[in-house]
Each structure stands twice: as structure tokens, then as C-alpha cells.
């Protein structure tokens, strides 16, 4: 039953049906729309790999960059120990190394991190003996990028 108050000669309803608060969200597949940031690219191309959360909501990014060692003509020693770092507003927020056997034909590195609304985010991929200057970059002799996006999903909180 509604409760009313008298306000300036009018009875005003002061009770509301407020929906209980719950956290929800939706996944979106951005695999075809996202790629790691290749530091050998031009500034313009690199800028394209810096993404902005314009959803108006908090998002969780789950990104899996990887390298198909056989298809790219690389050795096991080339890719073993590679790792990726995720940045939000240019600060590192997640790091993950390929910890698998160096006999793997395909390198997979999964990163997960939160991105507040309006924040920028990107991913870089590094080789094993890093001082963070040895990034994966460029294309193979066939013009295929060494690092590809295997999966990239984004969860938007509602």
C-alpha cells in the first residue's frame, strides 16, 4: 500500500517499488576488433591499438594473444617464455607468461583485467629475456603478423 504525504496542497506518493540491486552483465566477442600493440608500427597504427572503454560501464577484459609457431616459421626457443602485459591508462595491471612446454606449436597467453569507464587499455607481448624492450613485433616473411588475437572477450557490468 502506498504512503502519501501532503505537499503544497497535493498528496505525494513517497513509496517506490525499487528493484533489488544485483550485479549483472553481458559478454561481447571482440576477437575480430582487437589486437596487441605492435611497437614497431607507426604512431598512428599504435594509436589504433589503444582502446577506450566508452561503454559507460565497468568492463572486464579477457584477452588471449598468441603465436602460431609453426605457421610463422619460428623455433621453440623463439617463443618459449614469452609473456604479455596489460596496461590501463599506461600502468601495468596484469602480466602473464607462457609457462608451457617449449614444444608447444602454439603460444597462448591469457590476460584478465578491469577497465573503468573512459579508461584506455592495450596489451604488449614480450620475448622471454626481457628488459621490456624486446617486444614481439612485425610480420613474418608472408606478411602475417607474428602475434595474433586468439580470443578477446569483454564483460560489461550492468
Amino acid at each position: 500500500m502506498a504512503v502519501h504525504l501532503r505537499k503544497n496542497g497535493v498528496w505525494t506518493n513517497i513509496t517506490f517499488d525499487i528493484t533489488p540491486f544485483a550485479v549483472g552483465g553481458t559478454w561481447s566477442d571482440e576477437t575480430s576488433n582487437r589486437l596487441y600493440r605492435d611497437t614497431s608500427d607507426t604512431d598512428i597504427e599504435q594509436a589504433k591499438r589503444i582502446y577506450t572503454n566508452n561503454t559507460g560501464k565497468l568492463i572486464l577484459v579477457r584477452a588471449v594473444p598468441g603465436i602460431d609457431r609453426v605457421a610463422r616459421g619460428l623455433s621453440t626457443n623463439d617463443i618459449s617464455g614469452s609473456y604479455a602485459i596489460a596496461y590501463v591508462d599506461d600502468v601495468e595491471v596484469a602480466r602473464f607468461r607462457d609457462n608451457g612446454t617449449n614444444s608447444a606449436d602454439k603460444l597462448r597467453i591469457e590476460l584478465q583485467f578491469f577497465v573503468p569507464n573512459n579508461s584506455e587499455y592495450y596489451i604488449k607481448v614480450f620475448k622471454k629475456n626481457h628488459d621490456q624492450s624486446q617486444t614481439w613485433q612485425g610480420d613474418d616473411s608472408n606478411g602475417d603478423t607474428y602475434v595474433e588475437t586468439i580470443e578477446w572477450f569483454e564483460f560489461t557490468f550492468q
Binding site: 513517497i14 617464455g81 590501463v88
Partner: protein, 159 residues
């Protein structure tokens, strides 16, 4: 125009323009190297923020700088792992992350990135062990080997 009701001898405001929180959002705080506060492994921290937080810490060992480049150094860091645990205000401890470095032992850097939630009022700690379950902080030979590469805390808010 605000609406007030009378309680005792006081008129109290019962309506205002503030919205009802309905959106999850949040902000990062950073505690890595170079920040005004740097957080490190083997130290207990408490979530005093009144909000749920999500911790993402990358800790590890710069092998060449801290231990050396020989086979003995490689053997020492290979297979190291971190355990993260949270402890409730009632003193109940729960393990929330267990990450092992199974990588190429030739890497010059060991690093591990546990991620976990810390409820309000809970404390948390991250510890690094070698492959033989020895706590790295107990090492008398390399007492300062473990360092922080990055450390962030994401504080959830309602908007």
C-alpha cells in the same frame, strides 16, 4: 522541492535528488615501484576501504641481478610459486591464489601475477616459495631477492 516528515520535534528530509546506485564501477590504486607507497610480498595488508577490492600483483626475482646467471641460479628460481591468502576479521584464513612459474628456466626474470578479491575488513598476504616449498623470505643467502614488478588494487564502487 524536498519532502520532510516530523519526528519528535524535528523535521527530517525524506527525499533528495541523489540517485539510487545501479551501476558497478571502480578505480585503480597503484602500489608498484616508483609509487608513493610500494607494496611487497610477505607483508600483511588490510582492506580498510569500505569497498570490495581486487588485487593484481606481479612479484618475482631478477635472477641475474639478485642471484646470478649460472645453472645453480636457474635451478633456484625454476618452479617457484606464490600463494595468496586472505584472513577474515574473525581470523579465518582462506587461500585465494596459487600460481607456479613453470616456464623456461633460461628466463632472466621470474614473475608471477596472482589476482584475487579481498572483502572489506579482510587482510591479505602474498608469499613466494621455491620449488622445494622453502619460503623465499627465509633465504639467508638471498634475503632481498624478491621484488615487486607491479601492484594494483581495483576498488569497486556503486554509482
Amino acid at each position: 522541492m524536498p519532502i520532510r516528515i516530523r519526528e519528535g520535534n524535528t523535521w527530517k528530509l525524506i527525499a533528495n535528488d541523489s540517485g539510487i546506485p545501479s551501476i558497478v564501477t571502480g578505480t585503480y590504486s597503484y602500489y608498484g615501484p616508483g609509487e608513493s607507497t610500494e607494496k611487497v610480498a610477505n607483508v600483511t595488508y588490510t582492506n580498510n576501504t569500505s569497498k570490495l577490492i581486487h588485487v593484481s600483483a606481479t612479484i618475482g626475482i631478477d635472477r641475474n641481478a639478485s642471484i646470478g646467471s649460472g645453472q645453480n641460479a636457474k635451478d633456484l628460481i625454476a618452479g617457484s610459486y606464490v600463494l595468496a591468502s586472505i584472513t577474515s576479521p574473525q581470523n579465518v584464513t582462506t587461500e585465494v591464489a596459487n600460481i607456479r612459474d613453470n616456464g623456461n628456466q633460461n628466463t632472466k626474470y621470474l614473475f608471477l601475477n596472482p589476482q584475487f578479491f579481498v572483502p572489506v575488513g579482510y587482510s591479505y598476504i602474498i608469499k613466494l616459495y621455491d620449488s622445494d616449498d622453502n619460503h623465499w623470505s627465509d633465504s639467508t643467502t638471498y634475503p632481498n631477492a624478491v621484488e615487486t614488478f607491479a601492484w594494483s588494487e581495483f576498488k569497486f564502487e556503486l554509482q
